[in-house]
Symmetry: C2
Subunit: 213 residues, 2 copies
DNA sequence: AAAAATTTCTCAAGCTTTTAACAAAATCAA
DNA sequence: TTGATTTTGTTAAAAGCTTGAGAAATTTTT
């Protein structure tokens, strides 16, 4: 991991993607995969696949390919997702509650260990009803305290746009390390807190750009 | 628009982002913005901002900057979002219903004109109750027919992973032009149908990669 | 009206990323 | 065991993207 000083951001994105494709292969009981096959699944160049892995070591077997189980572990190690990450969701509206019960998180090492809203009582009934079991939703006022108590490192923002920055500030104050913002406005934080803004409309915008030609 | 043959994908992503920041400026009653200011808001280099626009024409005024209103229109023209895009959402579970009522789509020219589920009756009650108004949810069996009737060009997939590819195939058959896949597995389609896979866990993966160092 | 200041636009240099090509190593077949 | 085949890992070339610097145009100041 010292051989290369800088890893392209695109490589990181692709690693996460390879992982998804490896899951797919594994579910089809494949044991081994070549860079060519994986590349085809991910719409990238086979040389790219090999190069992406080469940044971090030698994971393959020449003449054979990559053992899927091993490769998955290597990628998880690289990404840092071979351990549990404790997450808080802030804003339990439609999107927030969708995230709360999002099955895919459970399979990963992402664990939602707290949910906050400005109206926990009003919201709790609605959510619990929908889930068929009670979910503990706390008032945002307790965010700082609870985030620290529960060792939460990541916050997911699913509040309305006008509240998004305020919540981001709260999360920063509570000393989370990273923020995933799903509200439709960009939020900002000091250098030491990493932010990912994920906008549905941006995904559509870029899709539409390519449709329009 | 003939000066440059190929536009970097990163430029397209940034254009969509500039738009978000311009909205923000406009809401603060700003009329004009310089590449320096916009760059700072978007965490990019000012030269990058100017270059991104230069691909498509001359939108600025020297010594002054960019008129926000004009610039927004230019960007919308470039992206192709200055007209209405008609969308179908398939899979009205938690995430699907969140998307259905997602306020940000309404403000854009993205219009959800159909919703499908495998169990429209069971789901309708739940959704309508939550929205306080009845929402028409159709059976997936009618997808092809309705997509054509209603001139739908984009499909959003929010079904469980094991159904995702099937739904993608259905949408392709119904001749949509593009697909936004929010299910947690990659879906594939023939060349002529554009796909955007948007995975929550991928956003977290890349966030975590940078947190782990 | 002229000078100073500002800011875009353009060009080219510099840097990064991707791709191709090939040597090296392992597997597979005879 | 040997030879043929496969497929990785590596290097270097090619392509692509970002950035800096300066000319050109506009605004602001004097």
């Amino acid at each position: 991991m010292a051989k290369y000083s800088k890893i392209p951001e695109a490589t990181v994105r692709r690693l996460s993607n390879y992982l998804k494709c490896l899951d797919e292969l594994e579910s089809k009981n494949e044991k081994v995969v070549s860079s060519a096959t994986l590349a085809a699944m991910c719409n990238v160049n086979p040389a790219q696949v090999r190069k992406d892995f080469a940044y971090f070591g030698e994971f393959g077997v020449r003449g054979m390919g990559y053992r899927i189980k091993d490769l998955k572990n290597h990628i998880k190690d690289i990404l840092g997702i071979n351990r549990e990450w404790r997450i808080a969701v802030v804003g339990i509206g439609n999107l927030g509650s969708a995230i709360l019960v999002y099955k895919d998180f459970l399979k990963q090492n992402y664990k939602i260990v707290a949910a906050f809203d400005i109206d926990p009582v009003g919201v709790t009934g609605r959510i619990s009803e929908r889930l068929g079991k009670p979910v503990e939703i706390l008032h945002v006022d307790s965010l700082k305290e609870v985030v620290k108590q529960r060792n939460i490192e990541i916050g997911i923002i699913t509040v309305p746009p006008q509240e998004a920055q305020k919540v981001a500030d709260l999360l920063v104050e509570a000393e989370v390390k990273g923020i995933l913002n799903l509200s439709p406005v960009p939020v900002r934080a000091p250098e030491h807190v990493k932010i990912r803004n994920l906008f549905f409309t941006s995904a559509l915008d870029s899709l539409v750009y390519y449709l329009s030609k």
